[in-house]
Amino acid sequence: MSIDIDTARRVAKLARIKVEEGDLPALAGELSNILTFMEQLNEVDVEGVEPMTSVTPQRLKRREDVVTDGGMQDKILSNAPDAREGFFAVPKVVE
């Protein structure tokens, strides 16, 4: 399976990573090589095999549905590139 430039552009968009037009051909080539390597998986007979969901058989623990932590707005905002009036600040989202 080979990835063309349009697909590379679409993948970069989905991943929210800006890739300059001029860099797309090289990216497409790299992604194609990796996918070719992965295609060995098509040799395996996986008929009737369940996809793995948990590597160690375990039942997830349950607990009471109660608040266990919180009330630390200042700590949560302390690393934000831009925080104002107790909120994360971002560029305008709605017109």
């Binding site: 992604l31 990796i34 998986l41 160690t56 305008k92």
Partner: protein
């Protein structure tokens, strides 16, 4: 006592308890070793004030007779672990300036046991790499050199700074993490011991996530005994990690009896790769002979899906990474790109991630995005998860036939030169993990033990793979190899 930084954890613990040395003296020796080792670029954030304060507290505890094994032991911490108030950036530009308000469960357990933090250690960005060349801090360097050759070598990756620091005696031990071989490969490249425990043995809480179903932290140490001691302090159930196992943690050190008589050790034929280096093949045979000499039975086994482990890994790990790394968006922490006139929130995400992530991380995020995208999810991601089931089944069948542990080489070669793989295909770099990655896919414990030198005088490691939750038995078999191989070589100091 001189050269206190060269002590093992076990020797330091005994000397501390006897009062022959103080934690403060031990810490000062390590702090000055770290300061003198800038050329290795292993420590990327040094915390000598925290270290000396913790050392004084440890001395008080030792004096009071309340001293767990790790009390007063100076450690290096991989940059992937969040440490309160201390830079924790996973060697990425996107976490520039990030100082967590919380402490990872594993490091908290180590500090509660009295251990001392010397600082944060270099690594591949987000633990994605096998040579420590993808780090925003620049390469970590292996303290070992080829005989008569001054080329700087890789300490391996992703826990390259951890491996370099322990091998160069900058600290007594270090934490590492292992998603596809990131503890075991660097340990093998630097002549130290590294164990990846069973998935769920150590809490992942507060450890920056790469591929959550594969990530496991573990100790990187100078000896197998030290690995047993430190693993005990790192292990245990944590309600904050839903995949952490609620199982009792045995006294791993007490299990190092050296008695492996009657144990059945499997040699998987599929690991005998085409083009395997003769010295790796010899090391492997020597390792089997050592175990046979100690009374174990060596049995040929088959793990038929081995060949498909790397391609399955390179679907599953990037898929999980693309999801985990979605959180780096320039909103809550770390880097945010400068925006142009009219740029909205989408441009903010795209520019921030393009500037903040390095090349290999971008490539893996995009591969992960692709294999999870509509139309390809079944063909790649679901197929890889089915193959993962088969890989795990291979091991289960071997263990069901009475195999106690499996012996393989740790890496396909000794450490290579920094930059030597620069022009190679990314897939060629991925091949470093060929012997280790199956263990992550199956969630098993695996350990790398130094077992010999190659023709150029570089360390080589053997890997042992154990049954789930049987780290104690695994460490005991590794202890036998360590004793029989008698690996005592150290790199000559040039840094």
């Amino acid at each position: 006592m001189s050269d206190l930084n060269k002590l093992t954890i076990a020797a330091a613990r005994d000397a501390l308890r006897k009062g022959d040395v103080t934690a403060a003296e031990l810490t000062e020796a390590c702090v000055s070793a770290v300061e003198g080792a800038g050329k290795l670029n292993a420590f990327v954030h040094q915390t000598p004030e925290i270290a000396l304060e913790q050392a004084r507290a440890a001395d008080a505890r030792i004096k009071a007779g309340d001293a767990p094994a790790m009390c007063g032991i100076p450690l290096g911490i991989k940059d992937l672990f969040c440490t309160r108030g201390v830079a924790s950036q996973a060697a990425s530009g996107i976490l520039e300036g990030f100082r967590p308000e919380y402490e990872s469960t594993i490091t908290q357990q180590l500090w509660d046991a009295g251990a001392v933090m010397l600082g944060k250690l270099n690594m591949d960005e987000f633990a994605m790499g096998s040579s420590n060349e993808t780090s925003v801090y620049g390469n970590a360097v292996n303290p070992w050199k080829r005989q008569g050759d001054d080329t700087d070598l890789t300490p391996g990756g992703s826990s390259g700074g951890s491996a370099s620091a322990v091998a160069a005696d900058l600290c007594l031990a270090a934490t590492g993490t292992d998603t596809g071989g990131s503890i075991r490969q660097p340990a093998a490249f630097t002549g130290i011991v590294g164990i990846k425990p069973t998935y769920g043995r150590c809490s992942r809480w507060g450890v920056v996530a790469f591929a959550s179903s594969l990530d496991q932290a573990g100790p990187m140490t100078k000896t197998v005994r030290d690995a047993a001691i430190m693993l005990g302090a790192m292990s245990g159930h944590d309600p904050k990690d839903s995949t952490s196992a609620d199982l009792a943690v045995p006294d791993f050190e007490a299990m190092l009896t050296g008695d492996i008589r009657g144990k059945r050790i499997g040699i998987p034929q599929e690991y005998r790769m085409e083009g395997m280096l003769a010295e790796i093949e010899k090391l492997w045979a020597d390792g089997a002979a050592m175990l046979r000499g100690a009374g174990a039975e060596i049995v040929d086994i088959s793990l038929p899906h081995t060949k498909y482990a790397l391609p399955a890994y390179y679907v599953i790990a990037p898929a999980e990474a693309s999801s985990n790394l979605a959180r780096y968006d320039g909103v809550r922490y770390g880097h945010r790109a400068k925006l142009g006139q009219g740029d909205g929130i989408t441009e903010m995400y795209e520019k921030t991630r393009a500037e903040g992530f390095g090349h290999e991380v971008q490539r893996r995020v995009m591969i992960g995005t692709y294999v999870l995208s509509a139309g390809f999810y079944d063909a790649y991601y679901n197929r890889a998860r089915k193959v993962r089931t088969l890989i795990k089944r291979d091991f289960e069948e071997a263990f069901a036939k009475g195999i106690d542990a499996i012996l393989t080489p740790a890496t396909p070669s000794a450490a290579f030169g920094l930059g030597e793989m620069a022009d190679a295909d990314p897939v060629a770099m991925y091949l470093n993990d060929v012997f280790t990655v199956t263990v992550n896919l199956a969630g098993l414990p695996g350990i790398s033990v130094p077992a010999g030198l190659d023709a150029q005088g570089l360390p080589l490691g053997l890997q042992l793979i154990g049954k789930p939750w049987e780290e104690g038995d695994l460490l005991n078999v590794a202890h036998v190899i360590e004793g029989a191989a008698g690996f005592v070589h150290k790199p000559a100091k040039w840094w």
